[in-house]
Each structure stands twice: as C-alpha cells, then as structure tokens.
Symmetry: C2
Subunit: 384 residues, 2 copies
C-alpha cells in the first residue's frame, strides 16, 4: 500500500515495489565474482525459468528491456538478413528500428493500432516473402493495450525455419506464456513490470535453435553478447561477464520468491481478474475500450478512448492532483486520444477500486455524464 | 563502517556504499517520464559534469561501465575504421575487443603489463599509421594497478584529428581528470567505483568534436545510441530514451551530494593519501609493487607481487576468513602472481589500517618473514 507521501502508480511500468523488496535493496555490496553471488545468480535464473516455463538457457542483463530486445536481434541478425516485423504499436515498432540499426531488413506487416496480428497473417507473410530469418512479436503491446494470441504462431514460424522472437516485457509473470510449449526461441522480459522490481534488469531465454543461429552469426555486439553470458554462467561459481547490478539481484531474489510463494497460476489468475474488473468498470461508465476486440485486451494494461468532451490532461491531472493516483496517457499517434490504466505486479482489488473511484470522480468533475458508482460496482461484482 | 555480518570490500569495485545511499534506494518507484524524475536527472547530470570538469554533454546509461565503452565505440566507429588501442592490461584490451565486435580495425600498441603508454609512443604510432579515427586509453588499469599520465596525450590525438576515448571507470571521482582541459572527447565512467554506488549505471561525456563524428556515423547501436539520449534529455521535462534504473538515480543523487559536500579536491586528496599509505606499508613489509614505476601507480588500487613462498589463495583466504576483509587476486595472466587492494570511494585511513594489519597477520601465519607492525606504522606515518 502506498505511503501518504507517495503516488499510486497505475501506469504500465514501473510498478509498485513491495516493501520487503525495497528493504532487500538496502543491503551492502558483495563480491560479484564470489560464491554468494553465484548462488544468488543461480537461484534467480532457475526461478525465472519457472516463470518463463522453459528449460532453455536464460540470462539476466543489466539494462532496460530494450537492451534485451537488442540482444535478441544483434546476436542473430546480420546485415542483409530479413526479419518479419508485424507493427501494431510503439513497442512492436521498436523491433523494426533495432533490426535496421543492426543492418537487417525489416519486412513490415502493418496492422491497425488496436488490432493484433493473427497466425494467418503471419503465415501469409512468411509464404509471400522468402528467406525470413526471424519473426518478432510483442506479446503485450502496452501502447494500445492489446495482447497477441501467441499459442499457434510459434508452430508456423518453426515450419518456415525462422526464429520466433517475442517481447513479453510487460506480460511475463502476469500472463500465461509457456515459452517452450509456444516454441519461442528468444523470449524477452524486463524487471519493472509484472516482476514488481525497479527498472534496470532484463531477461532473455535462448532456445537450442536460437543458439544454432547465434553460433553462426558474426557478432555485432559486445555488452549484449549472449555467448559471453553463457560462458560466464558455466563458471564455478557462476558469474556475469560484466559487473552486474548487485542491488537488483537482491530485489529479484526476493520478488521471485514472493511470486512463486503466491503461485504462478494464482498470480496470473489475479492479473486476469484485475483486467476483467477494470474492463467491466470502463464499460459500466459507458467508456470505450481502445482494442478492437475485447478478447485481445491486455491483462496488464487497459487502454480506454477518452470521451470527446474531456481533455486528456485535465482528466489525468485531476486523478493525480485530487487522488494521488497516476495513470498514463497515449503514446505517439494516440497522445490525447486514450488513457491507460496499468494493473500489473502487486496490484490487487483495492488498487483497482481506488483507481476506478478516482476516474469516476474526475469524469464527473469535468462534466461528463456518468452514473457515479457504476464503475466501482461493476468492478466489485467481478471481485465477488 | 561494515556491519558484523558484512565483509569489508577492499577490492577494485564494487565498493562500499554509504548507509544514506543504501537508504535512498529503498524509496518507491516514480513515473520516469514525469517532472520529479526530470529534476533528479538534471541534478545528477549537472553534478556529474562538475566531477568530470566538463562543459560537454554527459549521459547516464543503465548498464555497467562496459556498456558505456560500447557506446563510445559503436557511435563513432564504422566497419573498416582504424582505432589505436594501447594494450597494457585486461581493460585496455577490452577496447580492442569492442572495436572488433563493431567491425573496426584495432591498431594494437602492446605495452608490457605493469607499464603504461606515454605520449611519445602514442605520437609515434599516430605518425606511423595513417587514418586513425580514434585512440582509446584506459586511465586507470585496475588489472595491473597503473594509471596513465593523460595530460599531454589529448593534445597529440587532437593534432592528428582523431577522437580521444578514455575509460575512467575506476578513477573518475577519485583522481584528478579534468575532461575538457585534457581534451577527452568521450570520457567513460561507472557507478560502482569511486562514486560509491552499486554497479548498474555508466556515464559518458561527449565533446563537440565527438558529436561531429557521431552525426556522420551510420549507427550500429540502438540501446546505446547517444543521439537518442541527447534528444530525450532536451525534452521538457528531461528524460531518458528507455526506462532508467530509477533506484540508482536516488542513490546517485545522494552519493554525488556527499562527494561534492566533501569537496572534489578533498576527495581526490584523500584517495591520493590512501594510495600513498598503502604503498608505504607494502614497501615497509618488503613486498614489491607490481607497476614498473611508482609514479605510475594507480591512486584507487594497489597491485602487489605475491612473494614466491606464499600461495595467493591461502593469503587472500586467510585475510577473508580470519579478518572478514576481501582483497582481489590477479586477472588473466596475472592470476596467482599479484594481489590487489582497492582503496576507492568512501575508504578512509581506518579501512587501510585494518587491511594492512590483516595482510601482516596473514603473511606471518603463512611463514613469511616480516616485521609485524611495520606496514601499519608506515601507513600511519602517511596519515599523520
């Protein structure tokens, strides 16, 4: 629960960090090439694999999630390699930019913002365009509030002998993403979303098939060189190639224990319930969800169209000023057109109710005709 | 001062973090694109510029120091570009590896480990080899315990129209390095050394001349793209292109205030005194410094040859087991041949005395003929 001098962050990351995790971070430094660190690195890696549901190698990078996206691309894509990039928001677009930065050729598959790519579209693109080396998908596109149904895409990508690279930065640990079952070759996540940690660590799992490609790639990366991470992890005690952000490992260790103690299935079910309650509240207030179809709504962030009679800045400004609650606006082309409520990490029914209440109050204050209490009531129904 | 359940880290990083800095890190997350973060980013950047003594742009990266080394190279060096890399230890060698990873051609200037490159050797190399685009120098080579006299190298590099890229990861904030006076185009540092912070942040200053090169470079980097950092910093409020490690900014803000409150000149003088006391103690114990010449000894880490009759593992093992003090061994070719005492960050006369005392006890225990107390006495003389 937030302190009186803190704002409640209901944005799609960074998310609230548990007090026990904050306290873990005030521990003193240790030798990062010693036994104690090796044990902590091993525990964190193994527990992350449980969340990723993978037997693949998994590495922890000192960077934001974007660093892990770069690791996936720069270790596999050489100048001239073609990468299929469905683009349906700011983060799926980022893959394209990284592919370009490393000399790859992005084959764009543009999809309207608010919609998601489906397996049929990806199959078509793979059949149309020869020699696609990899396909990038952002599982949870926070900029539009959608999540991509991933389960059958991996099979198609595999059939075409391409690598399946998936960004789960804002969904892993909050949604059902079995990496191995879904044949994800490089799965990326970050610390500051569902893992309820400060930003600063990124995670990446690497399949055997991905290793085959990586080992053939003339590398164009150093800090994010995955073979170096593997080599260091195999040492006794296991270590990282470059000085790791020790403090965040203390936090990660604690946060993963909290997550696994609650139980991955329970955590995921909680996220689904928070998302459902938020959507029901939005609909009860006669507001419109931004995603085209409710089945493809994100379970960690809800994107809502701003009513025409209301100004984005006033709406979010009032919620912040009057209630101490931070929600997000739209990004890029969606600036001023949508607002977004993040409900990931340690968010519970109480935070959702507070936020919906504040939203109602603020809409009313701005002259919007709504039935006060209708949103809160709809959310509570989901919780009961 | 360390707690009873903590080891005293006298290694060349990570270094001890002050309690007030540890406490600062237990603050809750804030919005990283809001005004509060913008103010913190501005304060940290401006205070870092004071330590760097630069009017150049300066950026804070979420990565280890190696990430900032990669930023310097990947933003300026294109495939086929020649870079002069004097190599005299593990970290100066790292520049060469990064240049290669990005397709550049390292022109190696090998120098015996324990010695340093001088301006004459660099001038000669620049005259011998045409079209050198950049020169890399590691100011403080922690692997061998030397520091390079930098003051006149920048002028020579400038005369040959090359970029001067300097790694001050383990010396900035502890030694005298006026970036602008010494004409350093890209100056790199990291959080976990003299800045007395956890590892996880890196710093890089960028001169006008460096910008000219960067702006002409077809970029081969994304996460470390310096133009993106500049663009984000110019926003109102200033921000970072990718989610920054918030927690470490709380720490950085506190640590820079501590540093500037003590006074940069005083902090540097303290580091010089700690180094001198350590060297005097080593000599009084009739041990041999590893660097060829005492004038080129590092002020943040002292490298000492291990007497032939003593085993490295036993020596350091006893110091750790009997006294709870951690010192470092040698790296790469120097494994088992030297030990290294780090004295950077918040280290004071008390920690030096504890360490020398433990070293004496351990040497004696291993049957080395030394005059017990001679090291402590020699160090105390420097402090008096």
């Amino acid at each position: 629960m937030r302190g009186v001098d803190e704002e409640l962050l209901m944005i799609p990351g960074p998310t609230f960090v548990a007090n026990s995790t904050l306290r873990a971070m005030s521990r003193q430094m240790i030798n990062h090439r010693g036994k104690k660190f090796g044990e902590m690195l091993t525990e964190c890696t193994e527990n992350l694999k449980k969340v990723f549901r993978t037997k693949n190698d998994l590495f922890i990078l000192t960077s934001s999630g974007t660093g892990a996206m770069e690791a996936a691309i720069s270790n596999t894509i050489e100048p001239g390699d073609k990468v299929l990039c469905p683009i349906y928001g700011k983060f799926s677009e980022r893959f394209k930019l990284i592919v370009e930065a490393f000399g790859g050729i992005p084959v764009e598959l543009p999809i309207e913002w608010g919609a998601v790519p489906d397996s049929g579209q990806i199959e078509e693109a793979l059949e149309r365009e020869e020699d696609i080396k990899a396909v990038t998908v952002t599982h949870n596109e926070t900029s539009t509030g959608v999540r991509v149904p991933l389960h059958d895409i991996g099979k198609i990508v595999k059939k075409h002998n391409a690598l399946f690279i998936v960004d789960t930065i804002s969904s892993m640990g909050g949604d059902h993403i079995p990496v191995d079952d879904w044949k994800i070759d490089l799965c990326i996540s970050g610390s500051q979303k569902c893992f309820s940690l400060p930003p600063g660590l990124a995670f990446i799992s690497v399949s055997e098939k991905a290793w085959e490609v990586i080992n053939k790639t003339k590398r164009r990366a150093f800090y994010f060189s995955l073979p170096d991470y593997l080599e260091s992890y195999k040492k006794d005690p296991p270590e990282q190639p470059y000085t790791p952000a020790l403090t965040f490992y203390y936090a990660l260790q604690n946060s993963l224990r909290l997550l696994l103690d609650e139980g991955l299935e329970n955590v995921i079910a909680r996220h689904h319930k928070m998302a459902q309650a938020t959507r029901e509240a939005i609909k009860a207030l006669e507001l419109e969800l931004f995603p085209e179809r409710e089945e493809t709504c994100s379970v960690t962030v809800t994107a809502v169209k701003i009513p025409k009679s209301v100004q984005d800045k006033e709406l979010r400004g009032n919620i912040q000023k009057d209630h101490g609650i931070l929600i997000s606006g739209g990004q890029s082309a969606l600036k001023g057109k949508i607002f977004r409520i993040g409900h990931m990490g340690h968010v519970t029914d109480k935070e959702i109710l507070m936020t919906i209440y504040a939203l109602e109050q603020s809409l009313k204050k701005l002259g919007q005709r709504i039935e006060l209490g209708a949103g809160v009531e709809a959310a509570m129904k989901v919780f009961m």
